[in-house]
Structures are given as structure tokens and as C-alpha cells.
């Protein structure tokens, strides 16, 4: 079942940071910014695992997550309902994400801070269009 379409790809370039929601098994939500949301195939994305330990702990005990991504030109937003699948600490996906993360770190002055520990691969259960980050003001005011 294909749930992701090509129109989502620009929203995964990292131009506008994505935000990830997870939840502990006890029902405590957590929100954090993620540096990378990478298209793996039509049904999977990979997120960079750097240092957000609470997020990692949450998805290991409750595999569901939701990530909000934003198209950098149109400001259209989508939420992706995710289910944690597995982590990769070597191989082509990890190497590509590591290289991209170093580029992001260099551009944002975070070269000494960002270090990829793993590429966490999630199954995409659903994609929901969430309108635009900002909605146009109506004619004549707000």
C-alpha cells in the first residue's frame, strides 16, 4: 500500500525543520525537532537519531509517532502517522544521512553538536494534509 506521494519530497529536504511527536507507554506526550526526515521508499521514512533520548525511549516502548513536515515553497503541511520499524547504524542509508547531517550541522554552526547515532526507520501508516503553516489573511483584515 503506497501512502506517500511525490509532492511530499520537497517537505523532506530539511529546509523547514520537521517536528516529531511521540508518547510514552504511560501516556506522556513528547515533542521535539528532528533534523532529518528521509524518504526511504513509498512506505517508509528514516529519522535521524542524535541525542533526543526521551524520543528514543518512547518509540521503543510505544512505537507510534507523528511527524509534521512543511513544503518550503508553498508552506503546505502534512502529518505522517508513523510506526517504528528498526534502526540502522551502518550501510548506505546511515552513510547518506550522516553525510547530510554533517552538511546541516556545518550550515547551522552545530558541527560539534550533531552526531548521527542511528537512522531510525519508520513505517508510514497514514499521511494527512494539514493545510498551510500560515493561512492567507482574508480580504480587508484578519
Amino acid at each position: 500500500m503506497t501512502v506517500m506521494t511525490e509532492e511530499l519530497k520537497p517537505a523532506m529536504q530539511g529546509y523547514i525543520p520537521a517536528v516529531l511527536a511521540t508518547c510514552s507507554k504511560d501516556g506522556e506526550p513528547n515533542a521535539t525537532i528532528v533534523s532529518q526526515v528521509v524518504w526511504v521508499d513509498d512506505e517508509h521514512v528514516a529519522l535521524s537519531f542524535q541525542f533526543f533520548n526521551k524520543t528514543i525511549r518512547n518509540v521503543r516502548e510505544n512505537p507510534y509517532a507523528s511527524v509534521l513536515i512543511t513544503h518550503p515553497s508553498t508552506l503546505e503541511c502534512w502529518s505522517l502517522d508513523l510506526r517504528y520499524d528498526h534502526s540502522e547504524t551502518e550501510g548506505p542509508l546511515f552513510d547518506a544521512m550522516d553525510m547530510q547531517l554533517q552538511a546541516i550541522a556545518s550550515m547551522t554552526g552545530m558541527a560539534d553538536v550533531f552526531k548521527l547515532k542511528a537512522s531510525d526507520v519508520y513505517f508510514v501508516e497514514a499521511v494527512t494534509h494539514r493545510g498551510r503553516y500560515f493561512e492567507p489573511l482574508p480580504e480587508g483584515g484578519s
Partner: protein
């Protein structure tokens, strides 16, 4: 501030700063154009997320009011009231200073005119900031738009964490803890 704090006495002004839950550093971020999202979850512990058009810290330094966008693809009010437990991720995009506030939704209501004016002022500052970060077309789009429609949500905060990228990320900075006061409370009705 706690009742009685700041009052004059024979010995001088009574200071109760240590009882404030939300520290000055978090208040300072909310005075600047900040970017915020709110995470919540349903009764099956499946998380969801909404954008927030700014956060205001209330005078008691225990409650915040945030303006949560209402967008297609999910009913914001239902999401916020399903469990009432929420996590706000809030940061200054210019400095990467970021915090997470956790708490319980205590009230939902329509925004007031004064809140819309406050939101518009911060939105204008955010668009100015975007002008240094994004292409002109995107900045122009931001200037012609707003976070509305949105609902005003009052949240009773019980814990605060650093989310600024770096070795300090994840540290609890709930002000009352540092002053030796009570540890963060479990919110009313929260099943954790």
C-alpha cells in the same frame, strides 16, 4: 507569584521568586518571535501534533496560554481534550534556544481581540526574522498570512526541559526544583 509575595513588611519586601515554576529564560523566549508546536495523544496513546501561533506565560508562572492553529485533517479541540496531556516544544529560530513545557490543558476558548493583536505583533517580527533565513517569496507569503484560525488553550505547566541542541538537552529546568521546592507534580487526572 504566590499570594503575599511582593508585599511590604516591617522587614522589607517579601520575595517569593523561588516559587515561580517557569524560569526567566523561558519567559524571555516567549517575548521574541518563537516557533512552537504542541503534541498530544489520544486514548490509545497515539500522538498527534498541531502548530502553535505563540505562547504567553501567565503572571502566576504556572500557566501558559497558547494559540493552537485549527487546520484541516484533524479537529484541534478534540486533539487537545482527548487526554488533556500536552507537550509544547518552543524555540527561537535565530538562536536555536529551545524548551519543552509539559502540562495539562485546563481551558479552551476563542481568542480575544487583545490576543489577536499580540499574535499579529509577534507574527510581524517572525516574518522579519524569516527575511534573514528564507527566500523573498516565502517571506512575502508569511507577511500576507497568519496562524489563525486558532483556539486559545490554557495549560497548567508541571515540568520544563531544555531542548537546545547540545549536551544540556533533556535537562529539567523547572525553576522550583532548583530552589529546593517541590518536584514537578503529576497533573490532575493524568494517568501517568
Amino acid at each position: 507569584m504566590e499570594a503575599g509575595c511582593g508585599r511590604a513588611s516591617a522587614a522589607g519586601t517579601v520575595l517569593c521568586v523561588a516559587t515561580q515554576l517557569i524560569p526567566d529564560s523561558v519567559v524571555a523566549v516567549t517575548m521574541t518571535p518563537h516557533v512552537t508546536t504542541i503534541a498530544t495523544r489520544d486514548d490509545k496513546n497515539r500522538p498527534s501534533m498541531c502548530l502553535v501561533g505563540f505562547v504567553r506565560i501567565e503572571d502566576d508562572r504556572e500557566h501558559v496560554t497558547c494559540f493552537v492553529t485549527e487546520r484541516p485533517g484533524g479537529d484541534t479541540r478534540t486533539m487537545l481534550t482527548a487526554s488533556r496531556r500536552v507537550a509544547l516544544s518552543m524555540g527561537n529560530p535565530a538562536t536555536n534556544e529551545n524548551y519543552q513545557l509539559k502540562g495539562t490543558v485546563t481551558d479552551l476558548r476563542a481568542m480575544t481581540d487583545a490576543e489577536r493583536a499580540h499574535q499579529d505583533a509577534l507574527h510581524s517580527q517572525l516574518a522579519d526574522l524569516f527575511a534573514m533565513m528564507f527566500p523573498p517569496e516565502l517571506v512575502a507569503m508569511a507577511r500576507r498570512s497568519s496562524y489563525r484560525p486558532a483556539v486559545a488553550a490554557t495549560i497548567r505547566v508541571d515540568s520544563i526541559f531544555v531542548q537546545t541542541p547540545g549536551p544540556g538537552a533533556g535537562a529539567s529546568i523547572t525553576a522550583a526544583e532548583g530552589a529546593g521546592a517541590t518536584a514537578p507534580r503529576a497533573a490532575e487526572g493524568d494517568p501517568r
